[in-house]
Symmetry: C2
Subunit: 469 residues, 2 copies
């Protein structure tokens, strides 16, 4: 009985104790949340008032321009962003070497649709990235249109051999998120040419991956399959795709001719550009914030991915401007060769493994400099729970969409070295008006939208730096 | 005891009965929600696939262009939208007369900043809407800069009389919503000139209400006060405002000269354009869906408010395309004269009162054709509760921001005839890059963003038509 009473007393005391601890932790938690909210507001105010990201983007777009891996412009982008990271106040800035593919477009492509009436209609076209060129006189053949890979398989070699296959798979406008439509239709660009080659096609024409009807061809890598011959492959504008399709349906088409002189040269040495602020408490724990330096050769690569580059640099500048000393190491990584090889990402992962680095978190901005909506994530449950505990802070800025989605192709393998992954999630409605096309210019970027994206990256970097994941 | 038992039995029966009723209603509710979700998805698919809103907007911007009240273009907009509403399938289309102010800009404005060095710097400027013009030779005076109305009052007549007052109140970049910044800084344009006149100023120069530094003057109405003299008033670009301010701080400014030849002519007859689908069950209950036909004279009025016009027409077209017969009357109202008088809104309210119409709901799209985020609302609690019951439907499309905010200036007085009010809430980041400036062109509108706004209007119109508020 005494024992029992004593036990009850103990239990009672324990309860009081737990209540007291809860109160303390509760108070600390509330206090922490309040001070975090305040600091995130400081980040917001600093960034929306003094950001250099828009000016940096102007420089990258207008003074450098297109910067495909292996090109002189890509090297200029390396040198320029080293300077920008130093100006932003990085503790250290260094280059991480990688060998990159060096694909060149050669002379401007040409192509026409030959109608049975004798009329020749010029096409708005471009070679697909990494594709081989045509013979000097081009290729000229009749055209088979397919709207799916099933349709291609049904046609088979008897209907395809010696012809040009036209993949006409429009982006589905009834997906709210344009990336979902890109995911569905994008297989035509990536797999189409090799699958057509499997049945003996001599060339492939792919409908541009654009959300809306326009006259711009949208390039992007195609992926050859070593089991089948490599055939020349082009994208045509969505307007041309609609026209070609209607002419085919009416039986008016004689042939399509196109000529490309693109080719893959030997690999070139290149670099990722890295700038750091060393962590004050856990310097060995690395937070990677990144975008990619290379861009397609048809435009300025403003949204893809000049935006991600300048936003990442801006995270560092803002922390330095606020004299914020992160607990964990903040590492800004500007990856080379996202577009047609992923070699920068590979090199970064390889070095992380070699050096046995401890990676806590990585985020990439590669969905355009549009209004941010939140963070797509590929996280383990415990990390996701931590992320969710900051939802009310994100909500204040309309960046609380935390759905599970891909992070970014440069960082997605960093889970192998322990990193929890996220991607900056943006309003995707305008992305496929400009993606990989001549329309991806500085003028298509909104200053405030760009800055809000940089802020989002800084906010999550701050929280992870303070608390881990 | 028996009684008690009986009571218990009754209570038990009652509970069963209530449970049964709940289950029935629950099932009906769940079924209704599901069928509503499905129908809203039909609206989405129809609209994102077959919308004519983008083509209609192109026509209004490129074939008509600026359409300030009282102008020949405003009349063309009336005739064109009558045709569009008929093509969309309206049961009836009619005009509602109203007299509108007829302000004209006259010759292109000119102005320069005269420095003490003798240098003369041209200014990017425009007269403010509804302002009087200068004498033929312009006005030339020294300049006093103020950053607030408090500062103006402190200077008083002794420092202001005979001078030009420069209102330099930048839009605060640390507001997430640019409309909040517009609300704060906008008083300079509306009240500044009359307040400066109170202290004897002979002219007013207002910093353009633009979010970012650029070279475009942004016009918009100024509101004279009958107690003080009317003085000429202009807006200068944000870049010029920054330059003028820095030159003033350095003591380099001799004077500012500007010449405007704008004037207010006698009122002109004009019209609201109205198209209806008559309600099948409660035809007397009116749902008003609108935007405004008039636009400032400096650009094409694409976002402000060509977007709202074509989105409203699109609601009707979509319902007709889906053969949806609304229970309540859907009335598309394209208001005249929102920009510099509000006479269309006044006429609509007056007729609603005269005819003792029963207005259930009104929504205006006048926040640009940007990605929709939800519906600002000015609703009574019961109506707001009904709105909230549809939140999960809205959430699917990212349009579930239902904060209390202004609805739209053409409809805000319709609460006097019983209407619950809402405004289409959009992503506001780019709005003040184009608002009332030469940059408000068709090219600045995204097809998908425009269509998503039209969808949002159609979705809420459908739900209110089915269930009231």
């Amino acid at each position: 009985m005494l024992f029992s009473l004593s036990l009850l007393d103990n239990v009672y005391d324990m309860k009081k104790c737990i209540t007291f601890i809860y109160c303390c932790f509760g108070a600390i938690y509330v206090h922490a949340q309040q001070s975090d909210s305040l600091f995130v507001r400081n980040i917001f105010n600093e960034l929306m008032t003094h950001s250099t990201s828009y000016d940096n983007l102007r420089y990258i777009c207008k003074e450098i321009g297109p910067r495909l891996s292996g090109s002189a412009n890509a090297q200029k982008a390396v040198e320029t962003t080293v300077r920008m990271l130093k100006q932003a106040g990085a503790d250290t800035v260094y280059l991480q070497p990688c060998m990159v593919p060096h694909w060149v477009r050669g002379e401007k492509e040409k192509g026409t649709l030959q109608l049975k009436s004798g009329k020749s209609v010029p096409l708005h076209l471009c070679a697909l990235g990494n594709a081989i060129g045509t013979p000097a006189k081009g290729i000229d053949a009749s055209v088979v249109e397919v709207k799916s890979f099933e349709a291609l398989d049904q046609l088979g070699a008897s209907k395809i051999k010696g012809k040009i296959v036209f993949f006409n798979i429009p982006m589905n406008p009834t997906h709210l998120e344009t990336f979902d439509a890109y995911g569905e239709s994008g297989i035509a660009r990536w797999n189409g040419p090799s699958q057509a080659a499997k049945y003996g096609a001599i060339g492939a024409v792919v409908r541009s991956l654009a959300s809306n009807p326009d006259d711009y061809p949208h390039t992007g890598s195609t992926g050859y399959n070593d089991s089948f011959p490599k055939i020349p492959a082009i994208a045509i504008s969505t307007n041309d795709a609609n026209y070609l399709s209607s002419q085919l349906q009416q039986g008016n088409v004689s042939s399509v001719w196109f000529k490309t002189s693109c080719s893959m040269l030997p690999d070139e040495p290149s670099f990722n550009v890295i700038g750091e602020i060393k962590g004050s408490i856990q310097p060995a724990e690395i937070i990677t914030i990144g975008g990619h330096l290379d861009s397609w050769d048809l435009a300025e690569g403003a949204h893809d991915d000049g935006a991600g580059v300048v936003q990442s640099i801006e995270v560092l500048r803002t922390f330095k401007a606020l004299r914020y000393q992160p607990k964990r190491t903040i590492r800004i990584v500007l990856f080379m060769n996202e577009e047609n090889g992923g070699r920068g990402g590979d090199a970064y992962l390889a070095e992380a493994k070699t050096k046995k680095e401890k990676h806590v978190f990585a985020i990439e901005s590669d969905a355009g400099g549009f209004t941010p909506r939140g963070f797509s994530n590929m996280m383990k449950p415990a990390a996701f729970e931590k992320l969710m505990s900051w939802k009310n802070i994100f909500q204040t800025y309309g960046i609380d969409d935390l759905h599970i989605k891909n992070s970014g192709s440069d960082i997605e393998s960093l889970s192998e070295v322990g990193a929890e992954l996220a991607g900056l999630r943006t309003d995707s409605q305008r992305y496929f008006d400009v993606h990989h096309a001549a329309t991806d210019t500085f003028e298509s970027v909104s200053k405030r939208e760009l800055e809000l994206g940089a802020f989002s990256m800084a906010a999550i970097a701050y929280l992870v730096s303070e608390y881990g994941l």
